[in-house]
């Protein structure tokens, strides 16, 4: 039991290995991937003394349980959830020492969607194009966790730096998404754009790491058809033919043919990672980039 690893006893609904993702390969059709709630991922790493890029586990709603094969310092951040070590309550949002052989369990999220579990030394999956992230769209990176799987850990670190008091953003009751209009807002009528910023949208249960789908009114289009494929940004609000906006998250396709009405800045995307199905969604315009178009709407 001295190999630096852990065994998965309960994988949960969808638990994946995540880090900061693989940038610079979009022209080859490779999505960015990486932790959806990057601040939570970075905080978990900082709590156990890792660099930001160390791999963590990202859980989805139902948590997970792992049995340690070496003593490890761990930390859980993101969506708040009960944390236990061999059945005894342990701290959330703080470094926890877990002995070799102990069972570490993350229960269901009390609110929010995705919790992050960091181990000192990081999860040691084989990097693909410089990242250990699981990309659910294209299948790159390690497979999602399965019951019985054994994953390696990097070498145990020094004792982590002392931490007292951790900022937690909380999970708001409403998902507010600031956005810059364009590049294809001219594919929608004035009424359609009004619907986008005033409509009663909610997070759809069909949301995943690829995109946050919405339920609500359809955006009226000014023109029909599809665009020739064009590059897609992280945070793009793409509108498929059914008219319901889809917010592209880390595992989004790199090109697409549906018009993008606006783009949510990356710094505002962490909240989308924690918005559970049914959460109200409000798109708020940040205005239009001034150099983009001669005639502001």
């Amino acid at each position: 039991m001295t190999d630096s690893a852990f065994a998965v006893e309960r994988a949960g609904a969808l638990t994946t290995v995540q880090d900061l993702g693989r940038t610079g390969h979009a022209h080859l059709g490779v999505p960015r991937s990486g932790a959806l709630d990057q601040p939570a991922h970075r905080l978990a790493n900082r709590l156990v003394g890792n660099a930001d890029g160390a791999a963590t586990l990202e859980t989805t709603l139902t948590g997970c349980a792992v049995r340690l094969r070496r003593t490890a310092t761990v930390a859980v951040t993101g969506a708040p959830c009960p944390v236990t070590v061999d059945g005894r309550p342990a701290a959330w949002g703080a470094p926890v020492r877990v002995p070799d052989g102990a069972l570490l369990e993350l229960g269901a999220a009390t609110h929010g969607v995705r919790s992050y579990l960091a181990f000192d030394g990081g999860v040691g999956a084989e990097p693909v194009l410089g990242s250990r992230a699981t990309d659910v769209l294209s299948g790159l990176g390690p497979a999602p966790l399965a019951d019985g799987a054994v994953l390696s850990l990097g070498p145990a670190g020094e004792a982590p730096p002392g931490v007292d008091g951790v900022p937690h953003r909380g999970v708001p009751r409403e998902l507010v998404l600031p956005m810059v209009l364009g590049p294809r807002d001219d594919w929608f009528t004035r009424a359609g754009l009004h619907t986008l910023t005033t409509g009663d949208f909610r997070v759809s249960a069909a949301s995943n790491r690829i995109g946050l789908r919405t339920e609500g009114p359809a955006l009226e289009r000014a023109r029909d058809g599809e665009l020739p494929s064009e590059g897609m940004a992280l945070g793009a609000i793409q509108v498929p033919p059914d008219g319901r906006p889809v917010l592209f998250l880390a595992d989004h396709p790199t090109t697409g043919g549906y018009p993008v009405v606006g783009v949510v800045p990356e710094r505002c995307l962490a909240a989308a990672a924690q918005a559970a199905p049914g959460t109200p969604v409000r798109f708020t315009p940040l205005g239009r980039v001034s150099w983009g178009r001669p005639n502001p709407a």
Partner: protein
């Protein structure tokens, strides 16, 4: 050169051009400027059908203002190395494609293997290239009902493009053949065999009796 720059969030720029060739020419120019350090720092440069998307620019407005003044040389075809991909033209949709073209299947193979292709852009899956080169009259529609599983190595047509499935996935393109060439290998540099700008010829070979088994996961449907 006609171009239009559109904002994509705070740090992105979508440059729209009049044609696919113009987009490829701009992409090639952008890569030259990256290579000799004349382009500001950028995280991604993604060419597509008629656009080039640049992401992670500190000041996209500066580049947008500068672009119309660039002298962009047109694409050159026909010089330099060409990647040869051996293909068994044994795909289940070959006869249908030939029918759409109004030629025999043998003639369809002759046309396809006689064309010099170029990787215009990638997408859909890692290593999936959209290859241009067939004359516009040979464009074909996607299949009305996509297949739930297209085998790895399938050589396929849709619209004006030819593509090769880098792994097994759902797909709606017309399958005209198969190749054993490995399109995607994460351990290779670059991992994708078909990178934007690569020139390609498909070389007919005898059909294989047993296609290779697909290897990896699942994907989106295109």
């Amino acid at each position: 050169m006609t171009l239009r720059s559109l904002p994509v969030g705070d740090h992105g720029l979508l440059v729209e051009l009049g044609s696919g060739d113009a987009a490829e020419a701009l992409h090639a120019e952008l890569l030259r400027r990256v290579a000799d350090g004349r382009l500001p720092a950028v995280r991604e440069i993604v060419p597509a059908a008629r656009t080039v998307f640049l992401d992670g620019l500190e000041n996209p407005g500066h580049l947008a203002a500068e672009l119309p003044g660039w002298d962009i040389p047109p694409l050159t075809r026909g010089d330099g190395a060409t990647l040869e991909i051996p293909v068994g033209y044994d795909g289940p949709d070959l006869a249908e494609v030939a029918g759409l073209w109004g030629v025999t299947p043998e003639e369809a193979v002759r046309v396809h293997s006689g064309t010099e292709f170029r990787v215009a852009f990638c997408g859909f899956a890692p290593g999936f290239g959209y290859l241009t080169g067939l004359p516009e009259r040979f464009a074909v529609p996607r299949r009305a009902t996509p297949r739930t599983k297209v085998p790895v190595g399938s050589v396929a047509l849709a619209g004006p493009y030819t593509g090769v499935y880098p792994r097994s996935s759902p797909g709606g393109w017309q399958l005209i053949g198969t190749t054993d060439t490995v399109l995607w290998d994460a351990a290779r540099e670059p991992a994708a065999l078909l990178t934007p700008g690569t020139r390609v010829r498909f070389v007919p070979r005898e059909p294989t009796a047993v296609p290779r088994e697909p290897t990896a996961g699942e994907g989106g449907g295109a």
